[in-house]
């Protein structure tokens, strides 16, 4: 009986380890928006990879700079070639942890994420607030925050400096699902 019980415990443990620990999305959305006198600058990336480890609330996000699509081809070209230099720095990343991860419920509520964001090869500690909700089949995270281009050494030529705001609004929308190979 003892043997059976320990076997059962072991089995249960194994089972719980095997149950979903990682939630991920390969098509998270990130948009950024900057209001400018002549024309607004807006781009959307729908191929963002975001992985959440439910053991500890760790979150890792990878973003391909070339996946930001602009309405105007020229803007996209300038963004990649002059501003974020995406040939040199093809990815932006975020690594951090969702604070109080255990208390996320199925109703969206505010949580903070603390971590390091890296854009254009420059890293910065940041705290982002977002709405999180969790069910067995998905973890949803949405929200927005501001970034300052100077923090990431993104240089803006003097000629257009007036047309481009230093502070850019970044919005995110991720729908993570249990990871299945």
């Amino acid at each position: 009986m003892k043997y059976f019980l320990s076997l059962l415990t072991l089995f249960l443990c194994l089972n719980s380890v095997q149950s979903q620990e990682r939630y991920l999305t390969k098509n998270g959305t990130i948009t950024f928006f900057s209001k400018a006198p002549i024309e607004n600058i807006e781009a959307k990336n729908q191929q963002v990879l975001s992985i959440i480890d439910t053991k500890n609330g760790a979150i890792a996000i990878s973003i391909l700079m070339k996946s930001f699509l602009f309405e105007k081809a020229l803007m996209q070209e300038h963004f990649n070639e002059n501003y974020v230099e995406s040939d040199k720095f093809p990815k932006a990343t975020f690594k951090g942890a969702i604070l109080n991860f255990e208390s996320i419920s199925n109703t969206p509520s505010k949580f903070q994420v603390k971590g390091t964001i890296t854009i254009h090869g420059e890293s910065k500690e940041i705290i982002i607030e977002g709405l999180f909700s969790k069910t067995p089949s998905q973890i949803i995270a949405t929200g927005d925050f501001m970034i300052n281009l100077d923090d990431f050494k993104v240089k803006i030529p003097a000629v257009v400096a007036k047309n481009i705001a230093k502070n850019i609004k970044v919005s995110f929308d991720f729908n993570h699902q249990p990871f299945q190979k």
């Binding site: 390969k26 729908q46 191929q47 391909l64 081809a73």
Partner: protein, 142 residues
């Protein structure tokens, strides 16, 4: 030497200004590459493509990023998110696939596709995360 009248000079300057403005406008509003009418620069098998990224991402980036490439493969999943079709192509890699984000036009015909079908898709390669990502994809065949 005949002197130009003020009017003539004014008109000439105006014409130049107009031409300049027109060119500036054209450049500022130049359109994105028309994928459906452009033939791909590179044609490759799905597995071969992901292998190149897994083995040496930097080299693969210089080779494929921003290029219009055609990929041959077998459909492993089809889904629609925000009204846009996303097709994954099977590879021999354990985790990764080729993720093809379809154009609005191509998404309209997505219902004719099914899992396991072999397909050739062209799109712009934007890089490698877990998967190799192609955007603004069009279906070449079937």
């Amino acid at each position: 030497m005949k002197r130009f009248s003020k009017k003539a000079i004014l008109i000439t300057v105006l014409v130049y200004l107009l031409i300049g403005a027109f060119i500036a406008y054209k450049i500022a509003n130049k359109s994105h590459l028309d994928i459906s009418s452009t033939s791909p620069q590179i044609s490759i098998e799905a597995t071969k493509l992901i292998d190149e990224f897994v083995i040496d991402e930097t080299t693969a980036n210089t080779k494929y990023l921003d290029k219009l490439i055609a990929v041959n493969g077998t459909i492993s999943s089809i889904k629609i998110k925000d009204e846009k079709g996303i097709i994954s192509l099977k590879t021999d890699d354990d985790f990764g696939s080729i993720l093809c984000h379809l154009s609005n036009e191509a998404t309209k015909n997505i219902s004719q596709l099914e899992n396991g079908q072999s397909i050739q898709i062209k799109g712009i390669c934007t890089g490698f995360l877990m998967d190799v990502i192609l955007v603004r994809c069009e279906i070449i065949k079937p």
